[in-house]
Symmetry: C2
Subunit: 217 residues, 2 copies
């Protein structure tokens, strides 16, 4: 019975990794749609969000079913509880990529991002791609050292977010209020996306050690 | 053993209600701090957020401990899984009230909200207070009819949010970019707060019926 349990647990981890791959693709494509005012790619991300939501529902059902049938304790139970939480974070990351794509679509055929902010927004996008790649490594190999690196990348994201706000309130901002609102929300989406990746790395920490990561206390 | 289980489950529900009461207090006080530029009240909300976070950690530890010891199945397991998720939503609602209080503190001794938006922001605050009260009733009595009312209140919140954005991009907005950024973020905090209350009512629905609410599918 225990072998069967670990086989199913392995299947759940594989599904989490699959969900993370979908989220990474949604992020990359939403950034492309945003930077290039690419409507087709924006629509692709928007349509793909249902797949992420469905994966979460299926995965949660499997996790709860496994809990009920196998009645795990200690580490095995912790791993399943962490999996439930990780799927919720991934679902939310998918939502945030979806919001980015919707902004690109809303401003099409114009580019949503003014020239003056292109570099900052590109940096936020690539920082999130880097964070997501590391998060996938953390999920796959339970690599706690790599988990710590995500904290550093998240600090970089916070810095970029401050740069963004400084540009918006600076004298050289000539793109008006509507664009400032767009960029404020976009900054928030990117920042929250990174927060969820940090949260997932904390959950892996909890899964492995049974303790909360220091930052979360 | 089963009686002991239900006694502990009752204790967990009581803690969830206690946590919801803390969140409601944080919301009410953060709105007061915002509207009256009341620094002392803002500081109170900011300091109280740790209590909400600690309640979540304690509660989650108790839930996982109860799962491990009693190995519940079917409805009992669903209730515990839902409790884990509800505590996460409540924790996030506390964070959002905390963000509102921090905005009030950042703009002190000025009022963060310009006169032109006072009515809309007050309405968003009272809508969230109403939503939170109903959410507490749903949690306490598993009242699915009341859960549906929250959806209607949430639609009202979305309408207020659209009004807010219309005011910001309208010709009569004379408060500049910085205030527009503040109000954009504030609108987002209030809207997300309501979303989490909706999510909690969906989780109660799942807890009672074992099915996802239609809106969540």
């Amino acid at each position: 019975m225990r072998d069967m349990f670990h086989e199913e647990l392995e299947g759940i981890n594989t599904s989490l990794l699959g969900m993370a791959a979908l989220v990474k693709e949604a992020l990359t494509q939403s950034c492309q749609a945003l930077v290039n005012a690419d409507l087709a790619t924006a629509e692709k991300v928007i349509a793909a969000d249902d797949a992420i939501d469905n994966t979460q529902h299926d995965l949660d059902a499997r996790i709860i079913n496994l809990m009920a049938r196998q009645q795990p304790v200690a580490t095995d139970l912790r791993v399943l509880v962490a999996a439930l939480r990780i799927s919720a974070d991934l679902e939310r990351m998918g939502d945030l990529a979806h919001h980015v794509a919707k902004l690109a679509r809303m401003r099409y055929p114009n580019k949503a991002v003014p020239t003056e902010l292109e570099a900052t927004i590109n940096n936020m996008g690539t920082t999130n791609e880097r964070i997501t790649e590391k998060m996938i490594t953390v999920l796959q190999y339970r690599d706690l050292t790599r988990a710590l690196e995500i904290e550093v990348d998240d600090d970089e994201m916070d810095k970029l977010h401050r740069d963004l706000i400084s540009t918006l309130v600076g004298d050289s901002w000539t793109y008006g209020i509507e664009s400032a609102i767009d960029m404020t929300l976009l900054g928030r989406y990117f920042e929250r996306f990174a927060d969820h990746a940090v949260s997932i790395s904390h959950r892996v920490y909890f899964m492995v050690t049974g303790e909360y990561a220091a930052e979360e206390k």
